[in-house]
Every structure is written in structure tokens, then in C-alpha cells.
Assembly symmetry: C2
Amino acid sequence: MISPEQVLAALRNVEDPDLKKDLVTLNMIKDLKIVDKQVSFTLELTTPACPMKDMLKNACLNAVKHFVSQEAEVEINITSRVTKPMDTTQLKDIRNIILVSSGKGGVGKSTVASNLAITLAADGAKVGLIDADIYGPSVPTMFDLVGAKPSARETEDGKTLILPIEKYGIKLLSLGFFADPDQPVPWRGPMASNAIKQLFNDADWGELDYLIVDLPPGTGDIHITVTQSFPIAGAVIVTTPQQVALADTRKGLAMFKMPSINIPVLGVIENMAYFTPEELPDNKYYIFGKDGGKELAKSFSVPFLGEIPILQSITAGGDSGVPVALDRTNKIAVSFAEIAGRVAQQIAINNAQTAGDLSLTV
Amino acid sequence: MISPEQVLAALRNVEDPDLKKDLVTLNMIKDLKIVDKQVSFTLELTTPACPMKDMLKNACLNAVKHFVSQEAEVEINITSRVTKPMDTTQLKDIRNIILVSSGKGGVGKSTVASNLAITLAADGAKVGLIDADIYGPSVPTMFDLVGAKPSARETEDGKTLILPIEKYGIKLLSLGFFADPDQPVPWRGPMASNAIKQLFNDADWGELDYLIVDLPPGTGDIHITVTQSFPIAGAVIVTTPQQVALADTRKGLAMFKMPSINIPVLGVIENMAYFTPEELPDNKYYIFGKDGGKELAKSFSVPFLGEIPILQSITAGGDSGVPVALDRTNKIAVSFAEIAGRVAQQIAINNAQTAGDLSLTV
């Protein structure tokens, strides 16, 4: 007869490599049931996009077989409960706000933000996306929502809330939904800042694991407003390998490390890493230089999250309103899945550190 | 014996195809000297970058031979006197301020602005370049001037003037000269606006035919400040063929056409039009789509100024601090020369129209 204590003792030998603690201490084992030789439990991860999902599942299986009984028939369900960086009453149903940023424009922030959102949602997370690039909102084009208008609802206390538009399982808001696509928005900083705050505060986001924010280029009003007004889990930095892009990106990254801002940098993504033509699938043309993103990450001691090549399918995807990550079989989608896993992982690690040990133990 | 009247009468048959008037009416014939059969004069164009230089010279030659004497030995010098869009006391020694703009970041504004400046200077114009991309100044990298610091001088009335840095025959100022390259500039709009005004007002520009201004992406504080504070000859719009870039660029372009701003759009330049690998010099990969810039120009009824392909030599040029247009033999430099000619031509046409007929007649 197998006892719950035996199984838990066995699982104490399995450590989460990121959080550096065993799964029982981390309170990740739930719903343990034992009927004769049949052992079933739920492994509750800190993110549905956990890149070590399969590894942890196997480790649990082996631990029970090894420490309890080779005869045990083990069934492991995997779920996740996404952690929060801090407890704030502000935006309390939004667990993690992730900024997608770069000092430089045109490096693919919107492509990265959109595909990151799609990948996390496909993994099972509840995801929202705010397009904060007030002067050049790309989300309407990327999600085939040009001309779409969000509706609103009244709350019981008489407040009007904007309803984000749902597409591909993601809740979306873009300043682009509120302006004529052909009309410029010649706004000075304070107007832009107020508009962006409304997208956070006056929208019915519901419960979200991740709210991804596609920031405009630079280090201006929007950046200052967003970083000072809301609790941010971390920032993802996008760059191309070009020196002139790296110079700006370096400043964009340094901004998050300033004492007055102090937001964790989750890592660097190198976009447009190389170009591969269809007829020459083995050729990599380093059109914009090589390894610039990797070196940037290294020089700031932040993780390198991955590289994304230029393939016509990416730009066509963004332009056609069908982001490339929707089809998990293509090469770019695989890159995005790896990157999304690393982003979610970094957040889980940071949250565990911020929370300290107590909140995660039984 | 040939008389001056005969020669001028002959030259009245040569029309400037842009300004739609003959060269004598336009007051473009100077220093006419006749000694026996030797006729010499100076043809004073409205820009040293005039694309019709040779055509006009030939037309003058033929007119004298045909209407005066086949025996005449004609010598024509070409100079230029760049016209101004309007008479203002403000920045009175700067003839034409040209904005290089785009709603979108990363489309190559700085590459275009730098190479345009270099081409116009190589043609003999007096050229200045202001890098107004306050959050991501690229000029220091593009001109190999990272870490350079402009000096200053005192005027007789006790004012301090910044001395632009000269390189490749161009007077340069960039916010990047005043900040640590690795330090972010997290400035709200009013600070950014004041800084940019100083680059215009408090610098010793001397006499300039063209002052090119590399604007940041978007339609924010800097754009509003520059367009409202200074007399602008026109704006050059840079885009890539990508839909998401075009969407933003369309707004950037529309901004100049707003009644409150109302600045002539000199035309659209399509950057990153296609990629050609070295081994396949006949292949054009339309990585970001095809003809987007051309269609944008058409839909706004503004001139299409030309396209620039992606060649490793362009990005390498920008990154190495040796802009590609410096070597007039390469393919990209030829594209820039054509584009610069069209820009200068558009300005001359606009200036002639603004000035009306009188200021150009004898």
C-alpha cells in the first residue's frame, strides 16, 4: 500500500531548476490521490509556458518509481498558477505586466509583442496586449482589426469600462482603435500619457496572467508614465544587430536600470538576425550585422532570450493580420515558443525572489 | 560682331522645365562676356544638385549656335544660388530647412538624412544636419563621431553659440553630442522641445543652403515644436514597403498636410526596397513587400523620390561611420544622388512658386 507521505517524500527529490527548491516545498504538488498502485497528482507550474514542463513531469515519474515503487502507475496532470511580482491593489487582477521595449523604432517590437502574446495564450495563459505606441499603433494591422471599435459597459458604480477586443484568444487594446487609421495624432506628451493610462485603468481586462505592453520607441513620456504608474513584472528588450539600433537599444535598456525606474530586464531578443532566401535555405545573410543582440545582453548581464531571422512569412504575417506564431509548425513560431518560455520562466524566477520563500511554501 | 542682346535673345528660347520660364526671365544668366566669337557666361542654377544641369548647359550652347552664330565659341560656367522659401528674419542665413521624417521608426530616416546631406555637400551646397532624434540619435555613429563634443564661442553681444562639428563637409549637431552614449535620456516633451530649439537657435550655423533635420519617429512634441517654431522648406518622407510601416508613415505624412502645420511634402523615399545578395546580383528579394512607397506617394499625390535597396554596404556604411554616399561609384550612392537632385529640384520649384514671379525676374 502506497501512502501520500511516501509519494511526497519522493517528490522532495525533484527540484525546480529555476527556483532552486523542491516541488513539495514550492507547493507545486496538488490533488494527490492514491488507489492501490495508481498514483495521480497535479503539478502546478508557475507558468503554462514553462520550458521545463516535460523535464519536470519525467523527473516526478522517475522519483515515484525509484523511491516508492517500480510497480506504481503514475498519472501527472500539469496546470499552472501564474505568480505575481508584488501585491498591489492597483490592477489587482493583472498578474504580470510585461513591457516590450527598445530605444529604437522599427526593430520589430510589435511583431515580438504580438507573437509573444499569441504563444503565451496558446500555452493556456490568460493574455492581454496593450499597444502603447501612440503615434504608430501596429496592433490593428497585425491582428487584422483595422477599423475595429471596442464597445464599453457601465459598472454597478456607474463607471464606464472599455471592453478590449478579443482575437486569437488575446484581449487587445490599441490607441489605433480610437483614431482614424489615416489621421495623424499630433499630441504633446501629457495628452499621450493620459490616453495610455486610460487603456490600463478604464478597461475591463478581467483576470490576466500576462498583460503585454508594446511601447513606442525612445525613452519619453509614455515610458516614464507607464513605468511610474503601474507595477511592472519586467521588460523585454528588442533590437536588431545593427550598430545604430544597438546604440539606441542600449539606452532603452539602461533606462530600466535607472534607480528612479528600476524595472527587471527579462532579457534581449535579437530580431532580423539574418535573412534566408527560399532557394538557398542553408544561406544566412547577416544583412544587419551579427550577434549584436547577444553582445548587448552580455554587456548588461541580462539573459539573451533568442534570435528571430527575417523570413518573408514574418512580415507577410504581420501585414496580413495573421501573426506567424499562430501556426506552431513553422520555424519562426518555434523560435517564439522558446522565447516565450524563457520570458515566462524569468518572470517566475523574479516573482519567487520578490515574494521570498514564505509565500511559495506550504 | 556678336552683341549681348543677340545672345540674351537666343537664351530666351531656353526654358527651365521645372520653373516653366526662360533662363533670361529667371535671371539665371550672369557675367555675359563677348570677345569676337568667344561668348562666355555663367548659368546660375537654383541648386548645385540640379539634375538637369547638363541638359540646360547643352540647350544654352545650342541656342547660341542656332540663333546667333554657328561660329560662336561658347563657354558656360555653372554656379548656383540656392533660393529661400520665404523671407524671415529668423535663422536668416539658413536658406532651406528640410525635414526627414516618417511616422515609423527604423525605416532609415538617419541613413537617408546623412546620405542626402553628403550628396548635397558633394554637389557644392553648404549643408548642415541636425539630428533631432532625441531619444535615439544616430548621427554620432553614422559620422564616426561617438564621444565628440562641440565647442562654443562667445558672440560680441555676449551670447554663447555652439559650434557645429564639421565632417565630410557638413556641419553637424546631435543631441548625442551632449549626452553619454550609454545613458538614457528619459525626458518628457517640454525638455525635449527646449533642447531641440537650442540646436537651431543657439548654434553658429553660418550660411547654409540646406539644413537637414533628422526627426524622431512619430508625430509628437519634437515634430510640433520644429514645425511651429521654424520656417520649413519641406519634408521628405521615408518608409519601407511593409504595411505596418506604411500605416504609420501615412499618418506621418498626413501630419504635414494638416492645416495647422501645412508644410510642403517634397516626396516619398522607399528604403529597404529589396535585398540583393552578392552571389545572386540579379535577384531582388522583396523582403518587406513591393512598391509600398510608390503607392503611398501616389495616394497622397506627392512625388516619389526613389527607392534604396538593402545592401550590406549601406548598413555597414552607417555602422562604420563612413556613409555610403561618400563613394559616388557605388549603386546606392547613385540612388542617393538622384534622390538628392529631386529633393533640391522640388525645393527650387516650391520656392519659385512661393516667391511669385517678381523676385526671380531681372
